[in-house]
Structures are given as C-alpha cells and as structure tokens.
Symmetry: C2
Subunit: 305 residues, 2 copies
C-alpha cells in the first residue's frame, strides 16, 4: 500500500472564462503554484464550486492536471454527488488516474435521511469501484449539506471497509466533533483533516493529519509552515498569524473573496468570476478586502496572471 | 404558441432493477397508466428520486417515453440541477423533445444564496437554451432545497422573460405562500401548481392551474376527478376524500411508501426498490400501509406487474 496523503490541502478555486467555462490553463497554473507551496489539491470541493460543475467538466479538468505533469499522489478530488451513478463514475475515474484519495460528500438533496441510507450509498460506491487503491475521505459539512456524517456511520463503514475508508474532512467548525472523531478513530488509521486551519494545530496535537482549508488557496506557504513546525516552540504564534489572515477573509463571502484576492495579485480580473448561484464581490468589497489584508501584512507573492 | 399544460401532474416514481439501474420498461408502463388516468408527467421530480439519477440517465429515460409514443405535451420533466451546465443540457434536451415545460429546482448545494445569484442561474438557462418553446416552472420546495424561490425573484424573472417563465410548483406546504403567489402573478399568465392535492381545490378557486402531487402516482383518477369537477357541488366532498387517502400515505415515508403500494398492487416486488440515500419501507410498514389504505376503501386498480 502506498503512503497516505497528509499535510495541508486546498479545495482549489476554479477559474472561469467569460462564458463561464472552466479556464483550464489558469486552473493548472494555480494547482502547480499550490503544489510548489507544499499544499495538496483537494480539487472539486465546496470552495471549488464543484457542485456548479457537471461531472464531465470535473473529469476533464482532473485529466488536464495529470496531463500537465502534476503528481496525482497530491490530489484528493471531490467525487461525492447526489446520484450514486455519478459518484461511482467520478470516483472510479479518480482512482484510475492514481489520485491519493476521493473526498466524498454524502448525497445531499434529501434531508433527514437515515444512517442506513448513507451507509448503503458509500458501501455501493466501494463495491462498484472495487479497487483496493480507493481511499475515501468522508466529507462532513452539515451546515451546507444538512446531511451530517455521524460517528456511528464512520464506525460502521470503517468496520466494513477498513482498506477503503481512509479518513474524513470535518468542516463543521465544531471542534468538539473533530476531537470526538480523532479520539474515536485516529488510532485505527482513520485520518482526520479539520476543514479549516483554525484547528490545524489542535488537530495535529490530537492525532490529526493536517487540514483541508479554503484559505490554503490564498495563504498556502504560511499554513504549510505551521504544519511543518507544529512541534516547535513557535507553533502557537504561527497559528495566531494564520487566524488573523483567515479572520480577514471571513469578513467577506469566502469563495468570491478569495477569487478577488487572486484576481488582484495575479493581475487577471477574470479570476473573480463565479458561476451562479454565487455572485462575485463588488469592486468596493474587493478594495476593502485587499486593504484589510494589507493591514495585516498579507500578500500573495509569486502569482502570475 | 401552443396551449399550456394544466391539470393534475405526477412526479412519477422511478422503478429500479435489482442492480439499481432504471427499469425503463416499467417506467414507460407506469407513465402510460398515469396518462390514461388523465394525469400529466412531471417526471424527474423529488418523488422520482431525480437527483439520485445522473443527467444521462434522465435523458435516456425521457427519450424512451417519447419513443414509446407518449405525447411530450403531457410532460414537464425536472431539469434544474446544481450545475448550470447540467441544467442547460437537460432543459435544452427536454425542449428539443417537445416537452410542455421544464420544472426547475434552484441550484441547491450552497445555502443562503442571494436572489441575484438565483436570477443569474435562471437567466443564463433561458439565454443559453434560447428557444421560444421553453416554458420554465420554478420549483419552490424550501424544506428540501433550503433555497426558496421568493416572490421578488419570480417578479424579476417574469418581467425579463415573460415568454419563458411560465409558472411554479409550490411544494412549501404553506398555503399563504401559494395564495400570495396566485394573487401576485396568476393574472399575468403565470401558472401556479400547488405541490399537493391538499390545496388543489383552494388553488383552483384562486386561479391555480391544477397540482403536481406525489400521491398522483397512486391516486391519479380521483385527483383528476376533483380537477374536472371543481366547480360542481360535490367538490368539497371530493377534496375530503383525497385528503383521507393522502393522510394515510403521509403516515409513512412518502417515496418508499408509494413504491410499496405500487409493488403490492402491481404484484412486482421490485417496485419497492429505492436508490440510496433512501431506504425502502420494512415488510411490516408495507403491510400496515396496505391495511390502512384498505380501511379507507383505497386500491390501485388497473396496475400490472
């Protein structure tokens, strides 16, 4: 078995051309920049507007990354859809390309579904993909999906498929849930990634494996620095620095705000585009964001248009 | 311009084979039975498990219905997806096949999205499909999507695209919202369909055009009878009879319950299958449902395996 993916991962924001089609060239360039900053690629996450992309669009973009020479061992694409058949198709495709893992939302249309139904969803995917290389990371983001991944569900899946159920991204923002997940399953080789660098240090101190965070799109090097130095004397200070930058981004709509920052520092205005139902930040908001970031000494160096 | 679709429509439940692939033959047969009972086909709705089907699966099923000789003027397929590109693809396909309309969910992954973002979603679809035959029915089901269709959004869309924005299905279960929608827009030729026969009579008395209801899958003839006789002296009595049957189904999980009833009366046990994340009703629940229905004199005659 190959080594599991660890460290800091970014749910890579997806650039769009003026007709709202994915801007593959810029996407590849952004992914290379992230990898060069030691950040892994959780492409097709919530912050990637993945659910605003058709399955075919996601597959095409993933193929382009691999063809561009980026190591799939650094990739954990989102492959969980509402439709079982879409989830199976995207997951099998990611495994075939050699991706380190698949980050899987539960089917999120129906609300109030049972753990039995969610178990069957994931079990069917494992059975149908039928590949021992498959590493599933369960994606818990109840404030968006309204469909939580319970500890009991993790326990049942891990027992049934210990080789394929590899970990979780906990984006609940509820440290108590992250800690409970770590305490219950980290010892069994179940890799827990908090969904924000806010909990990167606390997570690592409790047996976590890194984080998968929106702001790793814009602040990758600094977040990786904490990951690399978490056992050093300066760890708490590094965490405080990360929290400050994240705090600024959280004052604005997260996805359009990050895209506005990338547009600003890359010099390519088109980076600010989002697909409906999201809306870009206004020129005033964008200016205020950049000014706020400047006040805490933040900039994105090394970005090109 | 052709005449608009009106009356009672069913969000047709989708039968699955034992490998969970759609059972096309049974689906066509069920649709023919519904049409023979004067019920239109709102295929690929919430009760159809449409979001548990891939876009390609939906297109294939729709083509099979048309090839089987069912009049597309009786069809209002669900075509609203999270991804703009999927919505455009499914909607253009439905228009090309001659369907009477397209029932469109808002993109439902992100929560707390703005009316501006939802407007852009629907506007892009209208602009990209670019066909005057396109009739969009906005699908308001906030308890599931968590993304409501506001009256202000309807007003703006109707003003921008009076030929293409044709109506709404209001599945909120909130009569005040349905009434407010009717009062605001029915006079402009905006066709309001309550999402349950519970409000069929009240809706018709306020200028509504029928209803699109789960239980039209199982009780089509009786619901159509009220539609046909809503101005007669027996209308309130007919409404009370419908409410009684619906009340029984509402005691059980709606989609698996209806499928269990169809399985029972068709004699084909496979009809009870659902795709994850839904779970079929237990044998005990199924038995209790059939007994409950028997007590109010309900049966599904004319069904075949």
């Amino acid at each position: 078995m190959s080594q599991r993916i660890t460290g800091v991962l970014s749910p890579v924001v997806t650039p769009f051309k003026d007709d709202l089609s994915p801007d593959t060239e810029r996407f590849v360039r952004q992914c290379k920049w992230l990898v060069a900053n030691n950040v892994g690629l959780a492409v097709f996450g919530t912050n990637s507007e993945a659910n605003s992309l058709a399955a075919g669009e996601r597959m095409e973009l993933l193929e382009q990354l691999v063809e561009a020479g980026i190591d799939p061992a650094r990739m954990m694409p989102g492959t969980g859809c509402c439709a079982l058949t879409d989830s199976v198709r995207l997951t099998a495709h990611a495994v075939k390309l050699g991706c380190a893992g698949a980050l899987m939302l539960p089917p999120f249309y129906y609300k109030g579904v049972s753990d039995e139904g969610l178990y069957r969803n994931y079990a069917e995917i494992v059975e149908r993909v039928a590949d021992e290389r498959l590493k599933i990371y369960l994606y818990h983001i109840p404030q968006v999906t309204q469909v939580p991944i319970s500890l009991k569900l993790i326990e049942r899946l891990l027992k049934a498929y210990p080789k394929n159920i590899a970990g979780t991204k906990d984006s609940s923002g509820d440290w108590n849930n992250t800690k409970a997940t770590l305490d219950a399953f980290a010892k069994d080789g179940f890799d827990v990634f908090p969904g924000s660098e806010t909990f990167l240090l606390a997570g690592l101190r409790s047996g976590g494996k890194g984080c998968i965070s929106a702001t790793a799109n814009v602040n990758p090097a600094a977040i990786h620095e904490l990951y690399a130095k978490w056992q050093s004397a300066e760890a708490d200070q590094l965490q405080a620095g990360l929290d400050k930058v994240r705090g600024v981004f959280q004052k604005y709509p997260m996805i359009p705000g990050m895209k506005a920052a990338i547009a600003h520092w890359s010099g390519h205005a088109g980076w600010a585009r989002v697909r409906p139902p999201l809306v870009e930040v206004s020129a005033e908001q964008s200016k205020a964001l950049i000014a706020d970031l400047g006040q805490c000494g933040f900039s994105m160096s090394g970005l090109k248009a």
